[in-house]
């Protein structure tokens, strides 16, 4: 198989190297054209914050790896800081295996990343739009997306939050039924707090309130996310009307005390209150945890959730590996079917089967002394019918086996005569 992949990823290069090699949509289009022109019959490029990878079907089965790397480096003018050993290369089955792992999310920095499948899909679509795909890459795309889909539906690899901010949102979803009917208050505008609020907004939280010592910063965040600004001095009062509170204040003492919460809970009819304290040092007195219907989480408890979810994801790896193995077998079975020799055999077998069935059905209509002749004549007819298509196939194969034109001919022949379809059904 003439598949080849080359690229850099978080396994081989640090972020400053990866960002030098990141390709925008326009840059990727230029790279695709150049790759097609110089090296590949079909190709595609995946470029995300964690990887820039090229996959392609080689024109003549050999590749100058250095030249492909040089093309990528030149496209980004990234000679400085990017070395050849930052690149990985994979050939044939290893390239397919790598792409499947990427789509499954087990090659990601955070195992079970759900975004990567969409990014791979977009990369395929972009390659399609630039007319650099062919039968092999198209089939590889189907198989890759199928791997991703199966991993997401048949395993729990992508389940459970694996960042502190997502863990907080996951917990909120375990307490409240409908976040669009709830409101959240962010106290302080630390980075993780802001991220948590953004995740809550992404989940459709009903209303947002922000309190910060520097009011201008709160106003800037409100301008971005919507909601209202609350005076920092009024935060205890604001606790009465919100359901989720995220605190991320740089303060030497607790901003919220149990006595505040006892009073607030009475005023809010004991409605559940979810407090996420991601300040270091902590902003909410941990004794508040004892109050009924108050759910208080700090960095340690959120990190414990993240660790537990990562463990669960790792436990799913054997199931993911099995899916990848099954899909690789399926892909290579298809790929083998594109080779000329098996197709000629299959075509012969299919025609011979039809001939035999018809002869058996009608043989009694002939006199016994003519039956041998019937066999002979029908066999000749089949051979003559097959002569032209098989000659063309053989000719293509001798002129360069595995070339795109031969592959297309094989594909068309197999589809036209339903070769492989029946045997697959039988299986």
């Amino acid at each position: 198989m003439n598949l080849f992949s080359v690229g850099i990823s978080h396994h081989t290069a640090s972020v400053d190297v990866r960002e030098r090699m990141w390709l925008s949509a326009d840059e990727a289009a230029g790279v695709l054209s150049a790759l097609k022109e110089h090296f590949f019959a079909e190709c595609m490029v995946v470029s995300t914050c964690n990887r820039t990878e090229v996959y392609g079907v080689l024109r003549d089965g050999v590749v100058d790896e250095g030249a492909v790397k040089r093309l990528l480096l030149d496209a980004k003018k990234a000679d400085e800081g990017v070395r050849p050993d930052h690149f990985f290369t994979h050939h044939a089955g290893a390239a397919v295996h790598h792409l499947f792992k990427v789509a499954a999310g087990i090659d990601s920095m955070v195992i079970g990343d759900i975004q990567i499948l969409n990014q791979v899909k977009e990369a395929f679509q972009s390659a399609g739009e630039h007319h650099v795909l062919g039968p092999i890459m198209n089939r590889l795309m189907q198989a890759t997306l199928h791997v991703g889909k199966r991993v997401r539906t048949e395993t729990t690899l992508c389940e459970g939050a694996v960042s502190v901010s997502y863990a907080a949102v996951e917990l909120a979803s375990k307490i409240f039924a409908d976040l669009s009917r709830k409101s959240a208050l962010l106290i302080g505008a630390g980075e993780t707090g802001e991220l948590t609020l953004k995740h809550l907004a992404g989940k459709g939280i009903g209303h947002i309130k922000i309190a910060n010592r520097t009011r201008a910063k709160a106003e800037a965040l409100v301008a971005e996310l919507g909601g209202t600004v609350v005076d920092f001095e009024q935060i205890v009062d604001a606790l009465r009307t919100v359901d989720i509170v995220v605190t991320s204040v740089n303060s030497p003492s607790y901003v919220v005390q149990p006595e505040h919460l006892y009073s607030v809970m009475r005023q809010r009819g004991n409605n559940p209150l979810f407090l996420i304290d991601i300040g270091v040092p902590r902003n909410i007195n941990p004794a508040s945890r004892k109050i009924e219907n108050v759910f208080l989480y700090d960095m340690d408890s959120l990190n414990a959730i993240v660790d537990r979810n990562l463990e669960k994801r790792n436990a799913e790896l054997p199931r993911v590996t099995t899916i990848i193995r099954q899909e690789m077998v399926e892909f290579f079975r298809w790929h083998r079917s594109l080779q000329v020799a098996p197709t000629i055999q299959d075509l012969h077998a299919a025609f011979e089967q039809v001939r035999q069935q018809e002869v058996e059905k009608n043989i009694n209509r002939f006199r016994p002394e003519d039956r041998e002749l019937v066999e002979l004549v029908t066999r000749r007819i089949v051979n003559k019918l097959l002569h032209q298509p098989l000659s063309m196939l053989k000719e293509g194969s001798e002129n360069g086996s595995g070339g795109p034109e031969t592959i297309n001919r094989v594909k068309v022949l197999r589809e036209l005569f339903g070769i492989g379809i029946k045997s697959k059904r039988d299986e």
Partner: protein, 276 residues
């Protein structure tokens, strides 16, 4: 004769079939197994149909609906709980609480199957259609209260896991706290309304049928006490805005009271209200 044979088979088979169903729901809950997950709904629907067939055959075979003894009522209660759960699962698409609700149905059906008697001769008043409505309403009432209690228990288990940051299978598989509270509350309201209907029918019908009727009858007093308890609970939730853990504890206390009261009352020989 054939009908009676089917009844005899089903009375033995149902506890085993319920055990199988609860096991399937248990495996789906604790192991999250895909195959079992696909199997559980068809199994539950098939068993419900079989249970309803059993109730129908029993009615035909013994010439009265199965509402004349505690054990007949228990199989009815078991079927009502399964039916209520089927409705809840399809209505809310929350599929992970069956192990607990159907577990209760299994207990009722097992007790019923062990002790149920084949009665063919029963007093004339037990053939009454009004009695059918009265008992059905009471069964729906107790079904609602039982389901409310199960959801209350699940709420408290999940509440405990979230509060103590110990995230196990309960955390992973149950719906959120607010949903559990809503489901418990709705089941409680449904049970309360059905119980109210049963009490109203009983208060009008019982004095006409039983010469020895007394307003001080233990079952009547007990049922009204249960009704008052739930009325206070529901009013408190509405008026005082009680929410969360406290109301779920009340649902469990209420159910425990119902269970104890009904056990004592049904054993009591002084009631005219024991039917048969």
């Amino acid at each position: 004769m054939v009908t009676k044979s089917f009844v005899d088979i089903l009375v033995v088979a149902l506890p085993f079939l319920y055990t199988g169903l609860v096991t399937v729901y248990g495996i789906a809950f604790f192991r999250n197994a895909v195959t079992v997950e696909r199997l559980k709904r068809p199994y539950m629907l098939a068993l419900l149909v079989l249970h309803l067939v059993y109730l129908g055959l029993r009615t035909v075979a013994f010439d009265h609906p199965p509402i004349t003894t505690v054990y007949e009522i228990m199989t009815l209660l078991s079927a009502a709980m399964t039916m209520a759960y089927v409705y809840l699962e399809f209505r809310t698409n929350i599929r992970n609480t069956g192990f607990f609700i159907l577990g209760l149905a299994l207990i009722f059906q097992t007790v019923s199957s062990v002790f149920i008697k084949d009665l063919t001769v029963i007093p004339e008043y037990l053939h009454s259609l009004v009695l059918g409505f009265h008992v059905s309403a009471a069964m729906l009432g107790y079904t609602g209260i039982s389901i409310a209690a199960v959801y209350g228990l699940l709420y408290l288990m999940l509440y405990h896991e979230i509060k103590s940051s110990r995230f196990g299978v309960i955390y992973s598989r149950l719906p959120n706290l607010e949903t559990l509270e809503t489901m418990s509350h709705k089941a409680e309201v449904f049970g309360f309304v059905a119980l109210s209907v049963a009490i109203v029918i009983g208060l009008f019908w019982l004095p006409r049928v039983f010469r020895e009727f007394s307003y001080l009858d233990p079952k009547l007093v007990g049922t009204i006490a249960i009704w008052v308890l739930y009325a206070i609970g529901l009013m408190s939730k509405r008026r005082l805005g009680w929410q969360g853990r406290k109301t779920m504890i009340l649902a469990l206390v209420g159910f425990a009271f119902v269970f104890i009261a009904m056990a004592v009352i049904n054993i009591s020989p002084s009631s005219f209200h024991t039917f048969h």
